[in-house]
């Protein structure tokens, strides 16, 4: 697997829905197209939420995984 290199990290640990989505939405708009955001969350609703958010906004969810008991997402800004 290619190693993903993020341009920015957004830690949403401890935040509940809809805050991870809200903060991700704001953070991705501060990146340039093509840049990658790494988002970390502990909300168990985050994996389905980020999948839906990606599908609807068009920003690419490159990876949805778990690290150290937390949910980790790599998202590329596409537009």
């Amino acid at each position: 697997m290619d190693v993903l290199k993020e341009d920015r990290v957004l830690d949403c640990s401890g935040l509940l829905c809809p805050l991870p989505v809200v903060k991700t939405s704001k953070a991705i708009k501060e990146l340039s197209v093509g840049q990658i955001l790494k988002m970390i969350a502990t909300d168990p609703g985050a994996p389905p939420d980020m999948e839906a958010w990606s599908r609807q906004t068009g920003n690419e969810l490159l990876l949805s995984t778990q690290e150290d008991g937390k949910f980790v997402f790599y998202i590329r800004r596409t537009k």
């Binding site: 809809p18 989505v21 809200v22 939405s25 839906a52 906004t57």
Partner: protein
């Protein structure tokens, strides 16, 4: 009434009919609208029946969302989140009259529409979700 013409942007209209008698029913429309706005959708909430009570000045602080075994958050927390994400708040005059309100009794930024505009917005929305 909807501002976007972009076919990729979905339009969601929430309808809130509950107010201060049902605090447990007040936060969710704001909460879901906030998430929808974060998905780059155009979002509005229409307040009718007891719904305008959610928008009366001071009620955001007064209405506490009950939470089992813990301190509930005030409704204002959810309202501010939605407004911050660009969610539009709509009311109509008859529902204000019901409570003796004028637009001045409501928090800043609330837009007045009528029944015809409401129906037009509903017909032009991709989803209408009523509470």
């Amino acid at each position: 009434m909807w501002k976007t013409n972009d076919p990729d942007v979905k339009r969601i209209l929430y309808v809130q009919t509950h107010g201060e008698k049902d605090p447990e029913r007040t936060a969710t429309p704001f909460f879901l609208a906030t998430a929808a706005a974060a998905m780059d959708h155009e979002v509005a909430i229409y307040f009718t029946m007891n719904g305008p009570q959610c928008l009366a000045k001071g009620n955001g602080e007064r209405i506490i969302i009950p939470r089992k075994g813990g301190e509930g958050k005030p409704l204002k927390y959810f309202i501010d989140q939605a407004v911050d994400m660009g969610v539009r708040l709509l009311v109509c005059q008859p529902s204000l009259d019901l409570h003796g309100y004028t637009l001045d009794d409501l928090i800043e930024g609330v837009e007045m529409i009528g029944g015809a505009a409401f129906n037009a917005i509903a017909c032009e929305a991709d989803a209408v979700i009523a509470f």
